[in-house]
Symmetry: C2
Subunit: 310 residues, 2 copies
């Protein structure tokens, strides 16, 4: 593939920006990648492993002369970074972000951008439970969706160019209204994370069952929850605070359904339970058929048939 942007500036060098650096290099999609991060330690690691062509000390420095700027910091840090870089953005540059929430992020970033910059908010639906500059890898976005949520007045050509970059990184790109994005993600990501954190917290907190027991006997189901409950705490704090409305709406639905199942257990209504548990299998099949998960037992953990890691 050919070069799509002459200079890409990555602000924040965690899992997503690091994976973007690897994916952009895999296909030679950028002339140069410049990166920065607030933490000196992160910058030092990024420089040491050669994550970018140049690692610089400030966001203002990083964006100078860049035709694409990617904000890859926690959602709660977007506004201050936008305020810092606003005066330094090159004319006609495209600015995007990778935040998990879109409406709040658009409100936080938008006012700080000069009129001659193209703002194309984005969100790659990919990740792992690992974080930091060493956690990225080029294949993270392959066959995963990246959602772009252009705002009123965004130049369609700028959106198309960013789409080409993401497709070059392996992603399937779709456009979506920001508010609908926040609702969809509240269902597919934010509420599941909150529930997983809660379940792990409950297990950690019980006096009659020790942490050691929870850990030893986790293969019975619990361990599936612990993966997403090990995700970056700062990122997730910011997600819940800034996607408050949609998360609370879905949480309300969740507790309503949970109480109905709880009542079925209490009253011994086996038919209700059986019907509910049957219905949920179809979604799993859909996800596997759509290539968004593996059909191997237990997610194909390890190479279980050979090594017995189950």
């Amino acid at each position: 593939m050919s070069v799509i942007y002459q200079r890409v500036a990555l602000i924040g060098l965690g899992l997503i920006a690091g994976s973007m650096a690897h994916a952009i290099r895999r296909r030679g999609l950028a002339g140069e990648i410049v990166g920065t991060a607030r933490s000196a330690e992160t910058r030092a690691i990024a420089a040491e492993i050669g994550l970018c062509d140049r690692v610089v000390g400030t966001a203002a420095e990083a964006v100078a002369g860049a035709d694409l700027v990617v904000l890859a910091v926690p959602v709660g840090a977007m506004e201050s970074v936008a305020a810092e870089i606003g005066p330094h953005l090159a004319p006609d540059a495209t600015l995007t972000d990778v935040g998990s929430v879109k409406r709040d992020v658009i409100q936080a970033i938008g006012p700080h951008l000069p009129a001659n910059v193209h703002f194309v908010p984005g969100h790659p639906l990919a990740g792992t439970e690992h974080s930091g500059p060493r956690s990225g890898f080029a294949e993270l976005f392959d066959n995963r969706y990246t959602l772009l949520t252009p705002v009123d007045g965004t130049d369609p050509a700028a959106t198309e160019r960013l789409r080409t970059l993401w497709e070059g990184c392996g992603a399937i790109v779709e456009e979506m209204d920001p508010d609908h994005h926040d609702l969809v993600l509240a269902v597919t990501s934010h509420t599941p994370h909150l529930i997983a954190y809660t379940m792990v917290g409950v297990a950690d907190d019980l006096r009659r069952v020790t942490d050691s027991e929870v850990i030893k006997y986790s293969a019975a189901g619990f361990r599936d929850f612990t993966r997403i409950a090990a995700s970056d705490p700062t990122m997730w704090r910011d997600v819940f605070l800034s996607n408050k409305d949609a998360t609370l709406e879905i949480l309300g639905r969740f507790t309503e359904e949970l109480f109905a199942l709880q009542r079925a257990i209490r009253t011994g209504d086996g038919d209700h339970l059986y019907d509910y548990f049957t219905r949920t299998r179809a979604i799993r099949r859909g996800i596997i058929e759509a290539g968004q998960d593996t059909d191997a037992p237990n997610f194909g953990r390890g190479t279980h048939r050979k090594e017995g890691a189950e």
Copy 2:
């Protein structure tokens, strides 16, 4: 390893019994494996794939002359099977089960057993989301815990012999009080399954977000829930009905914690969220260090670094 039982009778030929058959054969732990299942189709498949040495038509027939009988049927079917086989059990035979609940199962089975039979309830903490006679594999129990919950009066020698069989199948065996077992499993298995079913049900039921969107964008977290929510509905209906007290207790704790987090979101209490999300990381580390899960990103789904299956 040498033969531990001359004839093992497997009642029910699903994932667990099927995997036991494979694991027993892997090390030659039984002279003969006889199996049966209520469904003629299951019996036909088991016979076709040679799952057992002999597949017979009834449980009464299967247990004749067996020195180990394994009840591997849903918890709600244990009592009727016990009633059927009680009069046909060989003197001095050991009878065990693999039910996910112990107190209720002990109460259901116990009264139907003649005095000259050794009853050693058990529960292998291993499984996948797949079910049926084709789903078993020899390595399912490797490095996984099997809990034995002997009741008052159980001959310690019978328990030891069964322990040796399970260890030969690759399991780590521990003994536990039945009531404590049911509480531990309510935390590590039953409540997580109920919550996963609920979350998938909520997603399936929303009008403003389509199933197709949920499926496409599931990689953002949701898909982890769908695996255990695809487990056998009959098995899980029975688990919740028979481990009612412990499940309701843990569910009560869960909703209490969830409401506290919900309030933190509503009031914008970021510190509460951050502290909670930080605490839950330690449990994940413990599970990985105990060899009960993989540290590979996303459970090592597929071979992501090569094929990009994330």
